[in-house]
Amino acid sequence: MNTIPMSYYLVLSAVMFTLGAIGVIIRRNPLVMFMSLELMFNAANLTFVAFSNAFGNANGQIFVFFVMVVAAAEVAVGLALIVAIFRTRHSIDIDLMNTLKN
């Protein structure tokens, strides 16, 4: 049979997810942070599809579909926010965006 252990997929997914998380933390460019987030979404999606395959159940794929839609919406709004912020502050350094404090 052409099978690959589920564990491999899980480890791959974990590695990608962690890389995404590290990206969110170490990069100050919000665009890259966003990309890292997308990476994390992907890692999660990979797990969904893998389990869907293993169990022979379509629900996992449906979920991935929804995640994609929401991610698309999130990116649209998020990028719009970045554009708006850039317009007002002429910088998109994430460490300068802490006006919510206090």
Binding site: M1, T3, I4, P5, M6, S7, Y8, Y9, L10, V11, L12, A14, V15, M16, T18, L19, G20, A21, I22, G23, I25, I26, R27, R28, N29, L31, V32, F34, M35, S36, E38, L39, N42, N45, V49, A50, F51, S52, N53, A54, N57, A58, Q61, I62, F65, F66, M68, V70, A71, A72, A73, E74, A76, L79, A80, I82, V83, A84, F86, I92
Partner: protein, 181 residues
């Protein structure tokens, strides 16, 4: 250890490519390179989807993620002109901590998933495990309501994006008034 098959070799190669491209995205100075590397990463993942017999998701991955979303990213990068942000991102304590934590988590994941209690589940490669028909059927019957809600979410996102990025017309009416005079 499972037998080394062609499938496995292909999987490991693709996985290595995915991780490499992710790493590249992370550490690339140029945002444009980051974006392109991410596109590559998405493609490798799409490949894995195909391998797992999920062509619908794989195609969606390529069209939506690699196609639409990343193009959007590139547009924004071009629009803002920040592709060459040359600011040196210092290696702060926070970054070090993040990398270390990341390594810890990866190690933990390996320990948990591979060594401690490896699951007996397997992923079958090739062949349609779940057909596109089935997905479509589910989407328009059981998941009809969430499906409709997603459409609403998208609508809201579109409207929101437009409002957020709309340029305020500075004193447009006053100008009109002057013209009339």
């Amino acid at each position: 250890m499972p037998v080394i098959t062609l499938q496995l070799v292909i999987f490991i190669t693709v996985a290595a490519l995915a991780i490499a491209s992710a790493l590249g995205m992370l550490f690339s100075r140029n945002t444009v390179y980051s974006a392109l590397l991410l596109v590559f990463n998405f493609t490798t993942v799409a490949f894995l989807y195909f391998m797992m017999g999920a062509p619908f998701i794989g195609l969606a991955q390529i069209t939506v993620y690699a196609g639409a979303i990343m193009v959007l990213f590139l547009f924004v990068i071009m629009l803002l002109g920040t592709e060459q942000i040359a600011r040196i991102e210092q290696l702060s304590a926070q970054s070090v901590a993040a990398v270390l934590l990341g390594l810890v988590i990866i190690t933990e994941a390996v320990v948990v998933f591979l060594l401690r209690n490896p699951t007996s589940l397997v992923v079958t490669s090739g062949g349609d495990v779940v057909s596109v028909n089935e997905i479509g059927g589910l989407l328009y019957s059981q998941y009809l309501l969430p499906f409709e809600i997603t459409s609403f979410i998208l609508l809201v996102a579109v409207v929101g994006a437009i409002i957020l990025t709309k340029q305020e017309k500075p004193a447009g009416k006053a100008v009109e008034g002057e013209v009339k005079k």
